[in-house]
Amino acid sequence: MKLPISWLKDFIDLNGLSIEDIARKLTLAGLEVDEILYAGLPMPTYGTGEKHEFKTNGIAWDREKIVVAEIREVKAHPNADKLTLLNLFDGQQEQVVLTGAPNIFHLKGAGKLEKPIKVAYAKEGSTLYDGHADGQVLITLKRAKIRGVDSYSMVCSEKELGITDESDGIIILDDDAPVGMPLADYIGDAVLDISILPNMARNANVIGIARELAALTGRELKQPNLEIKTSGDSVENSVTIEITNSELNPRFVAGLIRNVEIKPSPYQIQRRLKLAGVRAINNIVDATNYAMIELGEPLHAFDYDILKERAGEKKIKIITRAASEGEELVTLDGTKRKLTAINVLVCDEKGSLSLAGVMGGSESEVYDASKEVLDAIGVETKPGEMPQGKITSRGKSTVNVLLEGAAWNFINIRRTAKQHNLPSEASFRFSRGVHPALAETGVKRGLQYMAAWANGQIAPGLVDTYPLKPKDSVVDVTSQDVKRLLGIDLSLEEISALLTRLEFKCEITDNKLQVTAPNHRMDIDEGVVGLADVLEEVARSYGFDKIPTTTMADALPPQVGNPVHEWEEHLRDLLVAIGLQEVVTYRMTSPERESRVVTHAEYVRIANPIAPERSVLRQSLLASVLEVVEKNAKAESVAMFEVGSIFEPVKNDLPNEPRRLAIVMTGARIASAWDVKDSPKFDFYDMKGRIELLLAGLRFTDIVYAEAASTYTLHPGKSAEIKVNGQVVGVFGELHPLAKEKYAFGDAPVIVAEFDLEKLRGLNPSYGIKPVSEFPPMYEDIAIILDESVAASAVEALIRQTGGKTVTDVRLFDVYRDEKIGAGKKSLAYSLTYQAEKTLTDADAAAIRNKIVKRLENTVGAKLRS
């Protein structure tokens, strides 16, 4: 919400408080000031080392150089058709000023004016915004000759003074503006841009902020005077109201004002509205907006004569009801809207009039026949054409106005505004809850302003139907409650004082405080929730900064840890230790994206995806990591992993979220350097080596690698499944050439692995370590020739089994094939380590070796290579 300081001053004395003081107090109390925009008032200056507190913007108006002046004479420029020459008086002397302003152009050559026009005048040397530049560009006025006429000063537009972003003419001040007065003293202002949190909607108005500030500073809130002078016949004689569903419409208030003269509002009013971010339209519409910004009750003005015409001979009868499915209404923006049963309508006996709480209908809206007004409400028209969506028969401006102030169910307003994409100042407030009590004060305020700005006469009385009065919330508070939840010691009197400032009614009875919520608040509940609601107000009013800092005295909870999390963190450490970079990818992908390596029939689908390529939740972690590696494929080598969930659909229920580990490696095995060229590329065995380290790090020893088909598109000859403790826990291998083609990878093979962490985590690691012997080990190499079909893992297993405890390590150091060995044969060379709890002799070693060789000969037909 944008709040002009000048408006705030109508309700609270701000003497002795700087703008920054005000902003700080509000910010700490939950009304965060995002920015301070200066429109005339002096800006704070900071010395070196001084702290800023708020984002600030805007300009200060020099009191000497920018003043109120009056145009006394309008002449034509001798050499320029589009410029006029003004004779004006700045309070000290006459000045000649050039302007091209369109809103003064019609007076060109009029000569001496009967009634001078009051304007904002900037003298030579003034700093203001360039009115012709895009955005806000500061300029300083310098003397120049424009088409032969001296120009050294100017009459200013709102854009030039930083009041609005755009403007199409000079400011024309109210007639009573004091000539010669520094403009900053007359209309200088600053605007606080305040974030309104959902529970602070009651403060989305000037008096709400003033009330908070009064509570925070201990100052008095100046309540608005709502007295009304009336004349003529009572509104009750011509209008009745029927509410068909009080849940939807707890209250409806209507007032009548006659004989209004539609014209622009006083400039001071327009300026405040514009600073508050609301467009100035005409005095009637402005009065509804002004009263809303001021008090928080959105109002709607109907053209009374249109309603009367529709009613014919009968009394006007306002009916509120839910719309029927498919019903239509043309709203005042000219759009025909199809309605649903969520929408609430204000109708008469002939049909619908407006979309309650959101937007008025076109037919009954307040009408101003002048062109300027049509432009101002944003209807595009071509010369000579009537604006679209307008009732073309209405040539006459509105004379009598029926003013509506009502309370609506916030859920309906919220849904309606969303459904029709109609965010507005009114729907913002109604969709967060406006207390029905405000309907009456809002209508009275609106009528007052209409009478003041449009010379109307207010009809006596209000038509007020109030079928659903909200219950006043009453909460009991004790000093113990405050101590237990806030940690501060306050007497009932102190609590009462803090709450009374916020207009709570407080009564002390036997050791407790009975607190009644004020009638502008919808956010205070009863019971244990009401207590929390009230204690929040106590804490805010007391000041969060004054509450002490303590440490918890309560007992510590049982220590259970999080074994799954801890195991995964250990896993991550191991993965990093084997040289892999962790990545974190998006959960949302598409079946097409995953189908490059794997296909799934069913997915967990997003009902409202931001894009087709993020329409489902991933079902393959590997597919996600492959995409990241593809993006990084230009790097010399990439070796990445991710640990995370995939999402398996369960019909109409929460999906399963099993954990997976995916690894992808591609590129150079060793980093290139000025003396290292042509590094070999990562292959199957680089991945396998890492997997071996990883499983060893997890203390698994029963590991078997076997060829197997995978759901992934892997190279059939260069892939394997991984069995730990007899269970398949993962798969790895080289990406199938056909799958690889679908990615923008380089020439190097792409090696992938995926583990099912749910399975892996559930397996028992081995217990204990191998002792480290004091005796010297013996090393021996043996090479054997055997059939190609015998797996190396089987040979190693046989060696270990035969050698028993004494063979502590078996390393394959060579695999060799050639013609001499023979087709279909291979040579495997192993380096064996013998170790025993004694010093082994050559004879001991020979005995073991012979046993092993014999076993290999008998079991797999191996021959010792000589």
Partner: protein, 352 residues
């Protein structure tokens, strides 16, 4: 004979003086103190000498032998020193050539930051609690005091999951880690329904919001929440605990402030700001000239939330707070584009 010995000595020492390498030294040794050297010949010819000559010549020959051997040793040392000096001179490297790159693994920056946060919280007694990423509306919103159509839902634009018509309880991507509060409380209550144990947990995890992906907004981000529930936990405890935590995170001198705020699941709610560590509070681009950085949101657990978790709000109270590890990293490292995190470009990842 004595003259001959002197000549042998003189000739040998002369030839030794010009030797500069090991092989010449070896040759010299053979020629001058070897078995067939002239000196050794003198020893070999002892038998032919008279009884009187023997001790004289013997003593002289021994003296020469010792002299030659020590000269050899001295020369050998000199040769070795010269060779070392030469090789040290020759082996000079170009120290400006780049070092060899070592391919190492790293954790993703978000994991690194999560670990920093969780490590501090662990020391403060908050144990890690993790829960699912896809949730139901009731646990993600309703139990946390966001009824359907509540204005606060505007604060958390949501991704929904296709799951048939489930009425007011659709399935969705969790918008915050707070549903874990409900799950953790219920689990704790199940362990002892009559006297539920106190809770101090940290809830890390990925959260999702319906946003366009831009430099400033992402569809997923990590959150870490803290939750303490027990008897007699106060707003003053919240202030004390969080001030301690923030000082561990940002330094013992960090100035902090608490601003009133709003979250449906806490009341009173607050935003905690820390004095901008980039400019020291003087105002800069990072803190948008305010001197303060919004670092976490917090508040006393709302009575409805306690109730929904199974804790009687008349007896128990607690506080919760939430923060974003990615936001902390962005502030700390001058990262201006949030898309870097899930973009996973190695050129970004390698900097952490």
């Amino acid at each position: 004979m004595l003259d001959k010995l002197n000549e042998i000595e003189k000739a040998a020492l002369e030839s030794l003086a010009s030797i500069n390498d090991q092989s010449a030294l070896d040759a010299w040794r053979v020629a001058n103190v070897g078995r067939s050297s002239p000196l050794m010949q003198v020893f070999a010819g002892f038998g032919k000498l008279s009884k009187e000559e023997r001790p004289v010549v013997g003593a002289a020959a021994n003296r020469v032998k010792v002299a030659l051997e020590s000269a050899l040793e001295e020369r050998a040392q000199a040769v070795k020193n010269a060779a070392l000096a030469k090789s040290l001179e020759e082996e000079k490297l170009d120290v400006t050539l780049p070092g060899r790159e070592v391919k190492i693994g790293r954790l993703h920056p978000s994991t690194q930051q999560l670990r920093r946060v969780l490590a501090i919280l662990a020391e403060m007694g908050f144990q890690v609690y993790t829960s699912r990423e896809v949730e139901t509306d009731d646990i993600n919103f309703q139990m946390l005091n966001f009824p359907p159509d509540h204005p606060a839902r505007d604060m958390q634009d949501t991704f929904f999951i296709e799951a048939g018509d489930r009425g007011d309880n659709p399935i969705l991507m969790r918008t915050h880690t707070s549903p874990g509060q409900i799950r953790a409380m219920r689990e704790a209550v199940a362990t002892n329904p009559n006297d539920p144990p106190p809770i101090r947990i940290a809830l890390p995890g990925m959260c999702f919001r319906y946003e366009q992906i831009t430099a400033r907004s992402e569809i997923q981000f990590n959150q870490v929440e803290g939750l303490a529930v027990g008897k007699g936990i106060t707003f003053a405890d919240l202030k004390g605990t969080l001030t301690d935590f923030v000082r561990r995170m940002f330094g013992q001198d960090a100035r902090v402030r608490f601003r009133a705020s709003y979250f449906p699941f806490t009341e009173p709610s607050a935003e905690m700001d820390v004095e901008c560590f980039v400019c020291g509070g003087k105002g800069c681009q990072v803190c948008k000239n305010s001197g303060w950085l919004e670092i976490l949101g917090c508040g006393m657990v709302h009575p409805n939330v306690l109730q929904n978790g199974g804790y009687d709000p008349k007896i128990y109270s607690g506080f919760a707070w939430g923060m974003g590890p990615e936001r902390q990293l962005m502030l700390r490292n001058k990262i201006t584009d949030i898309r870097y995190f899930w973009g996973n470009d190695v050129r970004f990842l390698e900097q952490f």
